[in-house]
Amino acid sequence: MNDSEIHARLVANVEGVGELDTSAGDPCVGVSADAVVDALGFLRDDDECSMEMLHCVTAVDREKQVDVVYHVCSYARHHSLTLKVELPKPEGADEHWHPEVPTACGVYPAADWHEREQWDLLGVRFTGHPDMRRILLPEEWIGHPLRKDYVYPSEHGGIPLELDAVPLYEREGESVGQPAPTPREPGAPLNQPPSEPSKRPHAGGKAPAPEKGDS
């Protein structure tokens, strides 16, 4: 079955399934957050679709929304499908805003680790997940790094990380060398958010020009 046939079956059997978007790149089916678990369940259990495996769960941080993309595939029928849940960002959404989607663990146990990773890196909370905690980063990490508004930490475990935090050449009144790192209290956060945000590197691989002048 090709994408539009699967989409037609899905629309006929599950509420809350949107359009098949073929405009940009891979076709994907828009689904509302409430309907995604039912849609996945239908895709798995239906004989014609028979999507035995959840291949990947990805969250994408766009300007105005956060997308959660599910790739499912079928071994019996040799086809696959992409589902997308769009979660619009409210006004004034900052690093404390966590979009929520129901967990797919009940349908596919494979979703367990994928969802933990998306929570860890992007801060998408999957409600009902049995073990919603970080998987790749340490437990005490602050922030969700793959977000576009992620602010790089100013220090890590006592070692300063800001670009101009350490003078690499002598200036008036200052000496060269690293300040001694202060030991970290156990349980204290590993990374401190900086007092003022540092510049993000640009896309295309060009580093920003280093700041001249006072530190």
Partner: protein, 389 residues
């Protein structure tokens, strides 16, 4: 099932026992990298297991959002560092799909040969290190003798022994020299003889079979539900291989090869021995593919014209997303690249096979002995580089 029945925990009310919490890793000779598994044990029996990953996290996905599509290719090498060609290929296919690039035919055939050589090299490591996990220290050295030959062969076109950065969006970087094909065929002849040696040394060894048969049984339903792919899935009896079923590289349609699956030869279907034996036979199938590839290698360019400017000015693909799956030695690697028309993707997700295969470990370990636990981890053949990225 004999193993599980023998080891039910014997709870006697008058004997005071505690659960032992043992930490396997992150520094451990048998965890195949920096993997930490917290084990709850009752004597030698594992009663609970919890994986703790992230020790090798190198922020590849974040880096991908800040470099261009071509510049990301070396980062893919370093994810599954034992199957660099395969990773390069998956990424190149993703970029080609996004940018709608045509790849010359010679490049496609060269890609296939290099990818299959790398598959053999990766399975050789799986074979050697599995022997060490079980206690046989010698097959490792024999496997590396063959691996040296492969690394030498792959060094000639790409310039590197291990992290090749050879298969790039648009084709391959450089053409092969004139004797390369003959040397590859000579290697194939040698390897077939050596493969028989490996079977004598390890596969048929009674102690090895006792240590791996009926251990870590992964049923077909569980494998599919947990997203396991590659030899882990094929060891459970599912005859699925992307090279045959969803061909991502045109030359795979023109070569003949079989897909080995586990058959429960020495124990239950889906045990460690089946997964090991699938990898062994896959090496021979790769030799078949390489021979046919070398015989049918066409002439022509090795890199598409459009790519030649990519070193100076990064190309900007149209808005869209692409998800491409490839059959890696460890399973199905997929890259999901989302583009909004800029030189770097806005989201780059790697669906790593070892990451998904490892998720099933928490279910496989309870009920095993500690020695079996090591055998199970070895049979999943994970590489922490791609688990953590």
């Amino acid at each position: 099932m004999e193993a599980l029945e023998m080891y039910t925990v014997n709870a006697r009310a008058d004997v005071y026992t505690e659960e032992l919490r043992l930490n396997l890793g992150p520094q451990h000779p048998s965890t195949h990298g920096v993997l930490r598994v917290e084990l709850g044990m009752d004597g030698e029996i594992i009663t609970a297991a919890r994986c703790d990953i992230g020790y090798l996290h190198r922020c590849a996905e974040k880096i991908g959002e800040n470099v261009s599509y071509l510049q990301f290719t070396p980062y893919t090498d370093r994810m599954d560092y034992l199957a660099s060609m395969n990773n390069n290929l998956a990424w190149s296919l993703t970029v080609e799909k996004l940018m709608d690039l045509e790849v010359p035919e010679r490049a496609q055939w060269l890609r296939m040969i290099c990818v299959e050589l790398n598959r053999i090299a990766s399975h050789l490591i799986a074979f050697g290190t599995y022997g060490i996990d079980i206690g046989a220290n010698t097959p490792f050295f024999y496997a590396f003798r063959e691996r040296e030959a492969i690394m030498g062969l792959l060094e000639r076109p790409s310039g590197a022994r291990m992290l090749y950065n050879y298969i790039q969006p648009g084709g391959v970087r450089r053409d092969i020299d004139e004797n390369w094909v003959a040397d590859v065929l000579a290697f194939c002849d040698e390897f077939e003889k050596r493969w028989a040696e490996y079977n004598t040394l390890l596969s048929g060894n009674a102690i090895f079979i006792k240590r791996t048969a009926n251990i870590g049984i992964l049923t077909k339903e569980m494998a599919l539900a947990y997203g396991c792919t590659g030899p882990v899935l094929r060891g459970s009896g599912v005859r699925w291989d992307l090279r045959r079923d969803v061909p991502y590289l045109a030359p795979y349609d023109d070569v003949e090869f079989d897909i080995p699956v586990g058959e429960g030869t020495h124990g239950t279907l889906g045990d460690c021995w089946d997964r090991y034996w699938v990898r062994m036979r896959e090496m021979m199938e790769s030799i078949r593919i390489i021979r046919q590839g070398c015989a049918q290698l066409p002439d022509g360019e090795v890199m598409t014209k459009k790519q030649k400017g990519m070193y100076k000015t990064p190309m900007k693909p149209p808005v869209g997303a692409a998800y491409v799956r490839c059959e890696n030695p460890r399973g199905e690697l997929a890259f999901y690249a989302v583009s909004d028309g800029e030189a770097s993707p806005i989201r780059l997700r790697t669906r790593a096979p070892s990451f998904c295969n490892l998720a099933v470990l928490d279910q496989l370990l309870p009920g095993c002995l500690l020695a079996d636990g090591v055998a199970v981890i070895g049979s999943l053949d994970i590489v922490l580089g791609e688990v953590d990225r």
